[in-house]
């Protein structure tokens, strides 16, 4: 049963005295898209940060069978986990090309094949490669963040609130691309999202977090049909 690419077992995390995660357990199968839902302050972002090592955590986190608990963010990235943080983490002072180059920072040698592949999904990036990333619109910056994560050829993509501050049309476009990357490239995705409707449509399974606990888990179809989820997150 332990075929999952990423497994969290009883993971706790805190910021100073504030206890945010109270024993989270979840699994992400290779090749799947998994959504994490929940209200503000439930610990969704912290869950991703626990994986990428940007917060101090305890409990077991295994990636492809390998424990991550003691690794810092740079070491986790080197294992092939790309984290697109809330607020995108793009370098607005650097050019689009430099941002993409940073995405593949841990790769050796030429990254031309990766860039070509990324440009096939985001053709407009190629024309604007010399432009400072800060001059892109919010939607474009989010696309750039996704593209930058993808240049790494990650085995796992951690995506934090991609819809934040974006117009609905752009959010739909973004999720379409995430789904396409998943289907065509076999990219495994763990996505945290406020917009439960979109997230459940684009994912295979999901977890609902409340106050640092997993309160509900299941396939996305099951969750969409669940009464509590419908009332709290889908609004019907």
């Amino acid at each position: 049963m332990t075929t999952a690419l990423l497994e969290l077992e009883d993971v706790e995390a805190r910021y100073g005295p504030v206890h945010v995660l109270h024993g989270i357990s979840l699994a992400v199968e290779e090749g799947s898209v998994v959504a994490v839902l929940g209200p503000n302050g439930a610990g969704k972002t912290t869950t991703l940060r626990a994986v990428s090592g940007t917060v101090r955590r305890s409990g077991n986190i295994r990636f492809a069978g390998r424990p991550l608990n003691r690794l810092g963010p740079a070491a986790v990235a080197r294992l092939g986990i790309a984290h697109v943080p809330e607020g995108r983490g793009t370098f607005s002072e650097l050019t689009v090309w430099e941002n993409l180059r940073l995405g593949a920072y841990t790769r050796r040698g030429s990254i031309q094949p990766e860039l070509e592949r990324v440009f096939s999904y985001f053709p407009w990036l190629s024309e604007r490669r010399r432009q400072p990333a800060g001059t892109l619109s919010g939607g474009e910056q989010q696309m750039l963040a996704l593209a930058r994560a993808f240049v790494l050829r990650p085995r796992l993509l951690l995506l934090d609130e991609p819809s934040l501050g974006l117009a609905p049309i752009l959010v739909a476009e973004l999720f379409r691309i995430v789904r396409e990357l998943n289907e065509k490239e076999g990219l495994t995705v763990l996505v945290v999202e406020q917009n439960a409707h979109l997230a459940l449509q684009a994912s295979d399974s999901g977890y609902v977090l409340e106050a640092g606990h997993v309160v509900l888990a299941g396939s996305s179809a099951e969750l969409q049909a669940d009464d509590a989820v419908r009332r709290s997150y889908l609004g019907y």
């Binding site: 740079a74 790309a82 370098f91 939607g139 117009a167």
Partner: protein, 352 residues
């Protein structure tokens, strides 16, 4: 609500968010251009003034050339300050003393029979290693505490280095010969010492190398990313701590260039532990004038400070060389009052 604020908070419709973002960018772009244009015009005006002065008077030309040579030394140390400041937002008060220390190392290598340029290269390597080791052992443990903690450590380092150098080499003056000799070129009746030409070339060549490292290499990109947004840089696999240590190493190497070139000045007869103390003050002024964040600004600022102080001492008899440092402080104060972002500094623009 400002346009950029509208863009960041924009959960509104696509069109309005997009257009306001573009409007925000445009207004920012044009403001930047106007500022840059003024600075370029000012510098151009200063250059023309100096050129006319040099053509009119041999004395003016001599002073200007001396100012440029001394200014490039200030600029080199200012560049070291800027490198550290960009990476950690802290002024390294020990930067000058570190440069003095490495100059003593070059002196010692010379005593052991190494030729000047071999000793020069070896000193840069030693300075780089020293910078990284100091960052790892002294700065890293306190760097996440507070800015003031780091500042205090650099002040302590200043005193420590002073003590160590006095302990090893004693307080007596040492002599080092200028590697460029003491002859001069004669250009239309104006004597240009070889040493001044050499100082300027060495400083600008080393600055160019550092610039190329930052601009064209993967390591340089990683260092820029680590300085701009450490958390985001770590997420893409940049080893931020390593980058900071390398940054300190590079700064120490640039400081070593400044120290050695200060000694290459034919009028600098003795090597003493106070060699870099006045130069550090000029370098502060140069870095602030250049905008603290701008490497090019640090070099230009260094040359401007060098030229203006030598000209003023040369032409205003009331300001003697004893008054040179206080005068520089006045300049520093004026910059901070009138244009705190300096010539090439930019106001913090951040879009979340």
């Amino acid at each position: 609500m400002t346009p950029s604020a509208a863009a960041t908070s924009g959960t509104s419709a696509v069109s309005s968010a997009e257009t306001s973002a573009i409007a925000g960018f445009r207004s920012r772009g044009s403001a930047l251009d106007a500022g840059t244009a003024t600075v370029v015009l000012l510098l151009l005006g200063a250059a023309i003034f100096l050129l006319i002065g040099c053509l009119q008077s041999a004395r003016f030309a001599t002073l200007t050339i001396e100012g440029i040579a001394l200014g490039s030394v200030y600029g080199s140390l200012a560049l070291a300050l800027v490198l550290v400041y960009r990476a950690t937002h802290v002024i390294n008060f020990a930067q000058g003393e570190l440069a003095m220390f490495t100059t003593y190392i070059a002196y010692e290598l010379g005593l052991h029979g190494l030729s000047y340029w071999v000793a020069f290269a070896l000193t840069l390597v030693i300075a780089f290693s020293l910078g990284t080791v100091l960052q790892v052992t002294l700065i890293r443990p306190v760097q996440h505490r507070s800015v003031i903690a780091v500042v205090i450590v650099t002040v302590g380092l200043f005193i420590l280095i002073d003590g160590v150098v006095n302990w090893i080499w004693g307080g007596f003056f040492k002599t080092m010969h200028s590697p460029f000799g003491y002859a001069s070129f004669d250009v239309g009746g104006v004597a240009i010492p070889h040493a001044y030409v050499g100082m300027v070339i060495v400083v600008f060549a080393s600055a160019l190398l550092v610039w190329a490292l930052f601009r064209f290499t993967k390591l340089g990109l990683g260092m820029r990313a680590a300085a701009l947004r450490p958390a985001a840089a770590a997420l893409v696999g940049v080893r931020v701590d390593t980058m900071l240590a390398i940054g300190w190493g590079l700064a120490a190497a640039l400081g070593a260039v400044a120290g050695l070139m200060a000694m290459a000045d034919p009028s600098q007869l003795f090597l003493s532990t106070t060699l870099m103390q006045p130069i550090l003050v000029y370098a502060f002024a140069a870095a602030v004038l250049g905008g603290l964040e701008s490497p090019a600004g640090a070099l230009v600022g260094g040359v401007l400070i060098g030229v203006s102080t030598t000209l003023i001492i040369g032409y205003v008899p009331q300001i003697t060389s004893e008054m040179q440092l206080p005068f520089t402080f006045v300049v520093l104060l004026l910059i901070l009052l009138v244009k705190p972002s300096g010539l090439f500094g930019r106001r913090e623009v951040r879009r979340v």
